[in-house]
Point group: C2
Chain length 143, copies 2
């Protein structure tokens, strides 16, 4: 393996907090296991990237297209009033972009979700159809 191209792997904290939906050209797409809000993560598969500006310009452009595509899919698959899009990463250093479907009736509104209320894990009966609906919305060609 060339030293300049180290292997990417999903950060264990992200893996623990979320369900993998699949891969886009740049990013792995995850659903955070928090039933308070439909909440996706885009994780660019680039080793050692911590900031958006750690990506090369073509990957930055890919990331924006993937943010827009998954935002539209999330909006189509859920009922939401506002999208929240953010790259924070103060706790988990691997670059990841939050895309969150917010509702006026959700438990944190209008605050940002981080630290607002305790996580509420999905019941399997709710998680499975949501995962299926999100996969169909994000990868319509494979539906």
């Amino acid at each position: 393996m060339p030293a300049h191209h180290p292997v990417w792997s999903l950060h264990p904290q992200l893996d623990a907090d979320a369900v993998t939906l699949g891969d886009l050209p740049l990013s792995r797409v995850l659903l955070v296991n928090d039933a308070n809000y439909p909440w996706l993560l885009l994780v660019p598969r680039r080793a050692n990237a911590r900031e958006i500006i750690d990506l090369g310009e073509p990957d930055q452009a890919r990331l924006m297209r993937e943010i827009a595509g998954t935002s539209r899919a999330l909006k189509a698959a859920t009922t939401c009033d506002k999208l929240n899009v953010a790259a924070i990463g103060n706790l988990v250093p691997q670059l990841h972009v939050h895309i969150i479907a917010r509702r006026h009736a959700d438990p944190a509104w209008p605050r940002p979700v981080w630290g607002a209320v305790p996580r509420s894990t999905y019941e399997a009966a709710a998680l499975e159809p949501l995962v299926a609906a999100l996969r169909r919305a994000i990868w319509p060609a494979s539906a």
Copy 2:
């Protein structure tokens, strides 16, 4: 003025909270008047845009280039440990992207900044050189 191209103007709440640094091809660049963190806003000059996906694809690409450029400039002009980049907009409906220079020693670390601690307005003696340094970093050709 054609009805399909309404006039953009800065939302009064953003105008009240921040100092204008200048315009990039798409976005107005503001410095939030909060001395707790060097905190920029990019506000795309497109009327009625509330979400990133309300922008056309060329504007989305411009926005990513402006996010990357101002992120690099903010990092160069300040001492920071992490950048936080976010489009939230739950309170102010006009699309705006936060670009915040975070330090391990700042009063909210590692929490996101929104609602974490009361704002601390800059003293004029601190604001003026920061504004000048940020303008030089963001628009180097005009320095």
